[in-house]
Symmetry: C2
Subunit: 497 residues, 2 copies
């Protein structure tokens, strides 16, 4: 009988953690979709138990011993799994359980305070909670350790390997040209008619078209499903079981159509992960930013393109009868309307990154102690005016709009904008690799694009970190140029610039 190697043993533990996390996913998904309301207290106990079991395994001394034996050995899959397990183990063991519990308690109170503060539009009521969370998160950063600045340790939780300096450099390059381009579009003579988007479309028709689009781009209903939840999400347990949600607003169909395409983009990534590496980092998405690149690509680069609707619009009209008098051009213009607006989650693909730049700059200063908590509303409003040209009328529509800070999730926001930039960078490479891409989209042929993504991105799992993946796939590091070129080309055409 052969003795299992140290790596076999570690892999067994990693897989067990992965299985427990996949159980958490099922429970979370169920809670948001089908769980009856009175199931909540028991669900909280179940989730807390499973989270405890995961934590026990993550921090088990055996893992530390095995990791010490495994430095730099094995093939690339082993190297990636060991690297990521080391990162997880180190983060988990460096942060004491007591600190984790304090954060969990403080953020539960902060979340409740944020709900109240937002509804009364009164930042002052939320301020002490934010201050406390910032203090605790600084402690986390100090425990975890960092090379550049504290913010790096927090950002690393969502975008492993990324640094505040890199992100800041990228965003600094982006803020000015993007902000100016938004002003150019606002001044254009040709403007889309947004009233098209609020025409009544019955729920059943929206559901039929959403599902049809998801299936057309390659979402496999044998390995996934689409249900309804208040906030759409994608829950990927394993490549064979990926659950999306969407929502249907009868007076705003883009919510369902583009929400579904967005989540299906996440879902295609999850379905494309290598099943041979299920429950291990090699079978896991790279980062939130890379995940977002996939959802944004299918939602915006493909799903809001003219070629895409050249294929689907005639069919869509059979279902969306209230749009019968709307031309293809008017429709494409309407779904691509660019308008500086107050709320991030409602922002278009051009202004969206400006919302993120604002949050990144502010939370970096907050963690760094350069921005006092009490000055948040004023700083928010000034930055908003600078970046988007408008001033929020109150805190509810300003610095209190997002839940993230109340959960202590500092370092999460940049991944949204990185997703857009990664998507543009990948898409530029895709256009070179598939020169007739637009013709394919016009024919409803998405397989070639999906195959490219499968081969170049999905199948790798966590073989590479995000920055490295961009380098390997596109031959160059991330830059803002592909994104600026993409938006300039696309929106100049729509706005007749």
């Amino acid at each position: 009988m052969l003795m299992p190697t140290a790596y076999d043993t570690l892999l067994g533990l990693i897989r067990e953690m992965g299985q427990l996390e996949s159980v958490e996913s099922v429970l979370d998904w169920d809670q948001e979709t089908f769980m009856p309301p009175n199931g909540l207290p028991a669900r909280a106990e179940q989730l807390s138990l499973i989270a405890g079991l995961v934590h026990e395994r993550r921090t088990h001394s055996k893992v530390g011993e095995l990791l010490a034996q495994l430095d730099g050995q094995g093939d690339f899959a082993q190297a990636a799994n060991v690297r990521e397990m080391r990162r997880t183990y180190e983060r988990a063991t460096k942060v004491p359980t007591d600190l984790v519990r304090r954060i969990s308690k403080v953020s539960a109170l902060a979340k409740a305070a944020w709900v109240d503060a937002r509804s009364s539009s009164n930042f002052t009521a939320f301020a002490p909670h934010l201050a406390e969370l910032l203090e605790l998160k600084r402690e986390v950063a100090d425990r975890v350790g960092y090379q550049g600045e504290r913010y790096d340790a927090l950002l690393d939780e969502y975008e492993p390997g990324a640094t505040a300096t890199e992100v800041a450099t990228t965003f600094a390059a982006l803020r000015q040209p993007l902000s100016e381009f938004v002003r150019e579009l606002a001044a254009a003579k040709r403007q889309p008619d947004p009233s098209i988007l609020t025409r009544h479309v019955p729920r059943a028709a929206q559901e039929r078209l959403s599902h049809r689009l998801a299936e057309a781009i390659g979402f496999d209903f044998q390995s996934g499903r689409i249900d309804v939840s208040v906030h759409p999400f994608c829950s990927g347990t394993t490549p064979g079981d990926v659950r999306l949600t969407t929502r249907y607003l009868e007076n705003f169909f883009p919510s369902a159509i583009f929400g579904t395409l967005h989540e299906a983009g996440h879902g295609l990534y999850e379905q494309g992960l290598d099943p041979a590496h299920v429950f291990t980092p090699m079978g896991h998405a790279v980062s939130l930013g890379i995940h977002e690149s996939q959802s944004r690509m299918w939602e915006n680069f493909v799903g809001r393109s003219r070629p895409f609707w050249e294929h689907f619009y005639p069919d869509a009209l059979k279902l969306f009868t209230s749009l019968a008098d709307v031309s293809l051009d008017a429709f494409v213009a309407a779904i691509n309307i660019v308008r500086p607006s107050l709320i991030r989650v409602e922002a278009d693909e051009v202004t969206y990154n400006l919302h993120i730049i604002l949050r990144f700059e502010m939370e970096r200063e907050l963690i760094g102690g350069k921005l006092p908590v009490k000055d948040v509303p004023a700083a928010w409003n000034a930055k908003f005016k600078e970046l988007l040209g408008i001033t929020p009328p109150n805190d509810r529509a300003g610095c209190l709009q997002d839940i993230h800070w109340s959960m202590g999730a500092f370092g999460y926001f940049p991944t949204y904008a990185l997703g857009n930039l990664y998507a543009a960078k990948f898409f530029a490479s895709i256009r070179k690799a598939i020169p007739d891409l637009d013709d394919r989209l016009r024919r409803g042929e998405f397989r070639t694009l999906l195959d490219w993504l499968r081969t170049n991105i999905h199948r790798h799992g966590q073989r590479y970190r995000a920055g490295e993946l961009v380098q390997v796939v596109t031959g160059a590091p991330l830059s803002i140029d592909p994104f600026m070129t993409y938006v300039r080309t696309k929106f100049s055409a729509i706005y007749g610039l």
Copy 2:
């Protein structure tokens, strides 16, 4: 700081086991309802992991130590929790892991062999697997231990505390009068018209009525839901989260209507368990037999009664338009048709127990080594003729019809008939406690009945074993008289005897 008592520590472990089992329930439910087909391999890994975690806890040496300290202490809740934990611990530790694994492996093969054997109606192909399972289950019985006979140790798994002798005595008393009554009904001049039951009723109408009936009898949709699965079941995670399934056959509406009432009966039991004792034996159903008493009571004693349909039939006709010309009496007669038939799961409430008596007598002899496996088909057919007056044309419609033996579930069948007998016994007490019950049913008032069940049965959890519960609630031990009186009264009226 107070030291936790031994009981507090044990209770913590019990609750953790209960939470893990409730996670298993959610995963099982999801697998049968919404899981996409390709989710199966990962689901198997998740379930196997959770089962392993439960087993580790059940057999943990700490549990044994705590149990040793706790003999006979505390209030009745503590006494019940300790008693049931001791039973679980002893069963789990007495059966070696290797034997559990062998059974699991052999029964996986046996199940596959049974599927094939059934489809070719060839018992011989299944016989060696059955013999192997019987041998393994005899070993389990020997390990677990028993006072009377081996079968007791197996029966105890499903109906804790019941013995083969008790069950045999009860069934021996029942078989003759019940068999004769079936013959009397068959000879009656007035016979129901079964063709009513196969009239076409659209799925939507069946769904609407089923849900309405479930809600009317008290099933709380804030604490549960009804979905669709191939084989209907009730999965009770906690009193706040009880999931039923049903199925809709457009050419056989009783499947949905009475299937839903049956599962809702299980569901009312689960929703009525004491939430203060969630995740512990005191918050758990007594036994399969008592569970079945609740489902059978709502399905048959209430749901197939004339007063019930006096209330609901006019409304039902608005949905079930194909029954427009069917009188209330003809409808009530049709849903209560009694006919000796080959298949247990399709049997009516009078003949049903005869199917069970046959299985109990045979499996007791099989475990006892008195019936050779090769003689099963002949023995089955002879007994069938004796009890039901007909002879199965082949093994598929005879001894190969049920999955239970292929899973090694010997001792399970009797709980179905016990459920009917318990139900009749409880119902006789209920009629005394609520003399105007029929008037209440006629008014659609189910609250008084449900309150009685809540107080006298549901709330107790596992405070009592089944036999003891019957004694406490009805003042006398189980007997067949209430059941025989119930069927004689009800069916004599319907058949005009």
